[in-house]
Amino acid sequence: MTLDRRDLLRYGAASAAAAATAAGASYVTSGATAATPAPDDPRDFDQEYKGKKIKGVHDKGNKKHKVSINGKKLGIMVLQVPVAEDSRETMDVAISALTHYEPFPIDERDKKDGLLKLAKKAVETLGDAELTDLAGDDHDHR
């Protein structure tokens, strides 16, 4: 298979090869070219939760992650917060139009399911309602 420039930028060469392996035979046999989308981030999800379809696509480079609920966009904002009081060390957290005051820690290791947890809480908050267009507005909190 070939690794395009986007793959290299997204993963670095070594992890891109690992990601391609993890993606399995279907990806390889699809005949990867420069036009083939980059492999999925292992943190991505596309599933049903409490009767709603939730989809999450991570953007490792720019942290502009995307979440939708029943096909409607949920605006996501990534912030940095201290890991503890009086600490200068920070971690990434995600909030959204629906979980606006409740940061979900998110990283590529032990908090890699942060965006999924956020999406599930957003579904619970919605109940039998759906997202409006306003929920999809992008807010740059950085």
Partner: protein, 272 residues
């Protein structure tokens, strides 16, 4: 000068007057009506003109102080006797205590995340949600979790430095980020989450309890000022910090109003 009282101490007449004024502002056609306040909070939660005005910044406290003053003045157009009450969640901590009574803000949502069913804001015919991230036109609440304790508040009020670099959600020291809640012991954010429903959303002012919660946050800042000083040197940063509202920069969209102008609230209102 107005006196902002604890919601639990309001008379029946005061409760009725507050609810009526809030509903009159909701019904007001045009101008800075209730939904204008909802939209403004949504807009200024984000970065505007490369500045963080309302949240994740030192101006969290003065921006909301002025926002509450503007809201209170808008209520006074309909009834000059109305002052904002506050909800002290270190004392009233259950789903049936003040202010969640049927003669005031009504109770919890039904079934965990459903519409409020009691009180004057129950159902879209009584209180219609027009500007929201959710398609629900009825006010919702989903109370539960953990409210800040009096000990948590005491800890935060004991932090003498107002705020600290980098002046945003990642500030590890200083009082403001602890009060706002991006660092432990998380005061303001956790109350939004505890009420749930619309209070958890970016359009949180749709729930009238927003004003009572923020009046309490403002009261706690007032207590901090009483302890550590009302003078302008207590607000940080003083000047020259890009992307942040310094002491003498304008708190948009409140034309001409700077943090320096709102630090001493005592000529305008006090807390009982």
């Amino acid at each position: 000068m107005g006196t902002r009282k604890n919601a639990r101490d309001l008379t029946a007449t005061e409760k009725t007057a507050f609810v009526a004024a809030v509903k009159a502002l909701k019904a007001q056609a045009g101008g800075r009506n209730y939904d204008w306040f909802v939209s403004t909070h949504m807009q200024y939660f984000a970065v505007v003109n490369s500045h963080r005005y309302a949240h994740q910044s030192p101006s969290f406290l003065p921006w909301h102080r002025q926002y509450l003053i503007e809201f209170e003045n808008a209520l006074k157009v309909h009834n000059p006797a109305v002052d904002l009450p506050y909800w002290d969640w270190t004392v009233d901590r259950t789903t049936t205590s003040a202010p969640w009574t049927s003669d005031f803000l009504g109770g919890n949502g039904s079934g965990g995340n459903g519409p409020v069913t009691t009180g004057p804001f129950a159902g879209s015919a009584n209180w219609r949600i027009n500007v929201s991230s959710s398609t629900s036109t009825s006010l919702r609440r989903a109370m539960g979790g953990t409210l800040p304790s009096a000990a948590n508040v005491s800890t935060v009020l004991g932090v003498s430095t107002y705020d600290a670099s980098p002046w945003n959600s990642s500030s590890g020291s200083g009082m403001r980020n602890r009060m706002e809640g991006w660092v432990s012991p998380n005061i303001h954010n956790s109350v939004h989450v505890w009420v749930g429903g619309h209070m958890a959303l970016q359009d949180s002012p749709n729930d009238p309890v927003f004003w009572l919660h923020h009046a309490n946050i403002d009261r706690l800042w007032s207590q901090w000022q009483t302890r550590w000083g009302y003078d302008s040197t207590r607000y940080l940063p003083g000047s020259g910090t890009s992307g942040v509202v310094d002491l003498n920069e304008v708190l948009q969209p409140f034309t001409g109003v700077r943090p320096a102008d709102v630090l001493d609230h005592r000529p305008r209102y006090t807390y009982a």
